[in-house]
């Protein structure tokens, strides 16, 4: 080996020294995007559920000055939504520039025709294909998969082909995120680490009528012994063990004998909460086998210490600093955000509407929780806006949608749950979130230069949801659906009591109606062709005649026949009829579950009081843009064509929209 002279030694030492001095400081920043400097920049604010009528009213009242300013620079129009106007469907129209016949998302739920069971329409998980079994242990030889079921290419993939950079924040119907080098973070459809849309845990010493497992949450009855509560936090199923048992973490809560305080100790975390206080994000790790664990993050809310102990734990979100499931592209994007902002809600729709519905939260607590969501979104938005220089920035906000769902009952005096006293407190909630979005728009407009095109859009609007229609009960009453035991009507879910050999049609999802087709359904009876065609037309016609016996109003304003309205490769997979409900009406919560209650229509007594799963003509979304639209009635899929047009990219053949400029 050559000897170093003194000068070389000093040089080498200094190099090594600076490596050591700098090496420990931080990992290199990974930034992914296209390279091209674009002459025009495009910012799109996707404000879920913003309603054109409300925007118009509030603009006229001077409460949305920046919306008005944007309109004066260009245009404000209702935006034609999807059929049905459900968020996963509508956002898929926007992502692909196609309608459901092209992208294959027809409803929140789809169904397995062979077994008549509901399936989540947006994503599916597949277990590892092969594994070695040693006693109780299962060692997978390959990884499991989560598959995005949406078909068609996303517009940011097309932009990537042309080297146009894009940041797509929380786009719904993009879980897991489709492969791309663009910066994307998955949105609606992203599950918690248990694989649910979001399952909260609630611990109480109070005796509750609620069952242990309620939709969207779990109730745990606990005991405070010697000012100490010991409980467990359920985690994901352990696929390394036979029969995939549920994993869990033990935790302890110490209560002060007098003061309204508690200390929570869970794994390495210990923290004190006052009554009525929220923790920040806490990291947890569910052990699977000695070398494997699943990380997650959650927040704790100490609702009450005495007389009854009440503790809420948020759904365990995928930890963005070490995602157990794919939530971003490139994977380092989520980690980069986590490094800058700490934990944040990664689940698709984080506002805990189920906790409010089941009375675990009151209205104020729900708003407090959703304010955390909104604040996180706004912090990341400021960051993304400040570094946006070229290409496209799409930014999504869910609070507009979630608050309208839950607080419509305070602006609709005809709603069965309208309460004038509470309306005086929460009646301005919806207005406030619109005003908040106006502030967001102001920030965006400040960033805008003459080469920036700014669009504000929503996937649909909103209307009251006052009355629930049991579509399967209507099918039964009209002889299209028959039961095995008529006396058991209303007792079973998932069509367990259905006599399929005498059933011609059934409804799953919120707007979907299927024909029990021979050769497709497991016990199908209706022959495809003329017989099916006639039946579809007959049911659609009859549905449009149905009237609410209480009000005399039509329940269904339009029953759309899928093959009349859809285009694309997947039309055959569509439900035969898409039910477009009239203003104030919607499918009951029993309908998507395959339940057949005895009555046809009933009051909606849920806090989920505003909705959009109706006739798409009743609830268009909004489009505000700082340029004039040449299209009189633009639709969601027109915006996709417009995005490509802004960057001079030719529209692919399968896209059905046209540029609005």
């Amino acid at each position: 080996m050559n000897k170093l002279n003194r000068r070389e030694f000093i040089k080498l030492s200094l190099t090594a020294g600076s490596f050591l001095a700098l090496g420990g400081s931080s990992a290199p920043i990974i930034k992914a995007s296209g390279k091209k400097e674009t002459p025009e920049k495009l910012i799109i604010l996707g404000l879920d559920g913003m309603d054109p009528h409300l925007v118009d009213v509030l603009m006229n009242q001077g409460k949305l000055p920046n919306f008005r300013r944007l309109q004066s620079l260009g245009d404000f129009r209702p935006l034609r939504t999807s059929t049905p106007p459900q968020s996963p469907v509508a956002w898929s129209n926007f992502i692909t520039g196609m309608n459901p016949g092209g992208h294959g998302i027809f409803d929140f739920l789809h169904r397995d025709p062979e077994r008549y069971i509901p399936l989540f329409s947006a994503a599916a998980s597949e277990a590892a294909k092969s594994a070695i079994k040693i006693g109780n242990l299962v060692l997978p030889l390959s990884g499991g998969k989560i598959k995005n079921l949406r078909k068609g290419r996303a517009f940011w993939q097309i932009l990537e082909d042309h080297d146009i950079p894009a940041t797509i924040f929380k786009m719904p119907s993009n879980y897991p995120p489709v492969p791309t080098k663009q910066q994307t973070l998955s949105g609606m459809g992203t599950t918690d680490i248990l694989g649910n849309p979001g399952l909260f845990n609630y611990y109480t010493t109070e005796f509750l009528e609620l069952k242990e497992d309620i939709g969207g949450g779990r109730i745990h009855e606990v005991y405070a012994i010697g000012n100490k509560v010991e409980a467990t936090l359920p985690g994901p199923r352990n696929s390394f063990k036979k029969d995939r048992p549920e994993s869990w973490l033990d935790f302890t809560v110490y209560l002060d004998p007098v003061n309204p305080l508690a200390k929570i100790v869970i794994q390495d975390e210990e923290f004190i909460l006052k009554e009525g206080e929220w923790s920040d994000w806490k990291s947890v790790r569910f052990p699977m086998i000695p070398t494997q664990s699943v990380p997650g993050i959650c927040r704790f809310y100490l609702k009450q210490v005495r007389p009854e102990f009440k503790l809420y734990i948020s759904p365990i979100n995928i930890d963005p600093s070490a995602p157990a499931l794919p939530i971003s592209t490139p994977p380092a994007y989520a980690e980069e955000l986590a490094k800058k902002f700490g934990g944040f809600y990664t689940q698709g729709l984080p506002a805990d509407t189920k906790a409010l519905d089941h009375g675990v939260f009151d209205d104020g607590e729900f708003l407090e929780q959703d304010n955390f969501v909104l604040q996180e979104r706004m912090d990341i938005f400021d960051h993304e806006l400040s570094r946006f220089e070229s290409g496209l920035l799409f930014y999504y906000v869910s609070s507009t949608d979630q608050r309208q769902h839950m607080f419509w009952r305070y602006i609709d005096q005809e709603h069965p749950l309208y309460d004038p006293k509470l309306a005086s407190i929460y009646g301005k909630t919806i207005e406030s979130i619109y005003i908040e979005m106006d502030r967001m728009l102001a920030k965006t407009m400040d960033k805008m230069d003459k080469n920036t095109i700014l669009m504000v859009m929503s996937d649909h609007g909103f209307t009251p949801f006052r009355r629930s229609f049991h579509l399967n009960s209507w099918l039964k009453e009209n002889g299209y659906l028959n039961l095995i035991n008529a006396w058991k009507q209303g007792e079973e879910d998932l069509f367990m009591n259905t006599d399929w050999s005498r059933t011609k049609a059934y409804a799953y999802g919120i707007n979907s109606l299927f024909i029990n087709q021979a050769g497709r359904e497991g016990e199908g009876v209706v022959r495809p062709g003329a017989e099916k065609e006639a039946l579809v037309r007959e049911i659609a016609q009859k549905l449009e005649q149905v009237k609410d016996p209480q009000t005399g109003e039509r329940i269904v304003s339009r029953a759309f026949v899928a093959k009349d309205i859809y285009r694309g490769r997947y039309v055959e997979e569509a439900p035969e009829i898409i039910v477009g409900y009239n203003r104030g009406y919607r499918a009951s919560w029993s309908t998507p579950l395959g339940r057949i209650p005895k009555n046809l229509v009933e009051d909606n007594k849920e806090k989920w009081s505003g909705d959009h799963c109706m006739d798409p003509n009743v609830i268009p979304g909004i489009l505000l843009v700082n340029r004039k639209s040449k299209v009189e009635h633009p639709a969601l899929y027109d915006l996709t064509a417009t995005i490509l047009d802004v960057f001079n990219i030719e529209k692919p053949e399968e896209m059905i929209g046209k540029s609005i400029f």
Partner: protein, 275 residues
């Protein structure tokens, strides 16, 4: 014990003074180098260097024998037996210096833990302050008062955990500095230091303990609490710190041993030490 801790602690402070604003890697490299040198010197003066040299040569010779006479089973077995015996002898020679090394090494590790295992609180950060009370004291009746400086805030009433004889508070750091939290109990007062926004290489003392040899040995950061005060310990929960190597978080003790061994082997020729 406290006098020893003060002096020993001061040595480390002096060693680290020039490097406190730099990445902890610099201080870690320096202390590992010094440790490597110290261990080599201990090894040199406490071990039988001549004996080690001889036994190592013997092992080499027997290894050669193994290679040369690999066709002869009897000779191969005999060589293996001799290698085994020489190894035992080598371990015997290394035992003495290792026993001598272990005491200074433990003392060094205790000190380094306070420099490399914790990071100071950041302004706005919250943590838990814990006071463990002597057995036999009723924590519900205890008149324990805290006087925080303006740079720290006690955010909660006391949370008393009887089964652990412990009182907890939530503490929020507001401004940078090495702050003193004053506790008053039965007319007496004592202090716990709280580190906020300190330099990258700083000594952090999470626990102040009551006068007791073992407790003081392992918690040398602050003077012990007087035996007249019915408090066993005061603890500030600091976040743990790891050595960050391009995004890899490695426990400081692994880095320390790895670097010390590397330096030891690199310098054994220079110092003419037979290991």
């Amino acid at each position: 014990m406290w006098i020893f801790n003060s002096i020993f602690g001061k040595i480390f402070e002096i060693i680290f003074i020039p490097f406190r604003s730099l990445s902890p890697w610099v201080g870690m490299t320096l202390i590992s180098l010094l440790t490597g040198l110290l261990m080599l010197l201990i090894f040199r003066y406490t071990s039988n260097q001549e004996g080690i040299r001889k036994v190592k040569n013997k092992i080499k010779a027997h290894l050669l024998e193994l290679r040369l006479f690999k066709d002869s089973l009897a000779l191969s077995l005999k060589a293996q037996g001799n290698i085994f015996r020489s190894n035992i002898k080598y371990i015997g020679y290394s035992g003495k210096p290792l026993l001598v090394m272990i005491v200074p090494l433990i003392l060094i590790l205790i000190q380094l833990n306070f420099w490399f295992a914790y990071q100071s609180l950041q302004p706005g950060e919250i943590t838990i302050l814990k006071v463990k009370v002597q057995e036999g004291q009723n924590i519900l009746d205890l008149e324990l008062k805290i006087e925080p400086p303006r740079s720290l805030a006690i955010e909660t009433l006391p949370l008393r955990i009887e089964e652990q004889q412990e009182i907890n508070w939530r503490l929020r750091a507001k401004e940078g500095g090495l702050h003193s939290l004053v506790f008053r109990i039965n007319g007496q007062s004592f202090v716990k230091k709280v580190s906020v926004a300190q330099k990258p290489l700083s000594r952090i003392s999470p626990l102040r303990v009551r006068r007791n040899f073992i407790d003081e040995l392992f918690n040398p950061g602050e003077a012990p609490i007087s035996k007249d005060i019915p408090v066993k310990s005061i603890e500030v929960k600091y976040p743990n710190k790891n050595m960050n190597l391009f995004g890899w978080h490695i426990h400081w003790i692994i880095v320390y041993f790895a670097l010390s061994i590397i330096f030891g082997f690199a310098l054994k020729g220079v110092l003419k030490v037979e290991i």
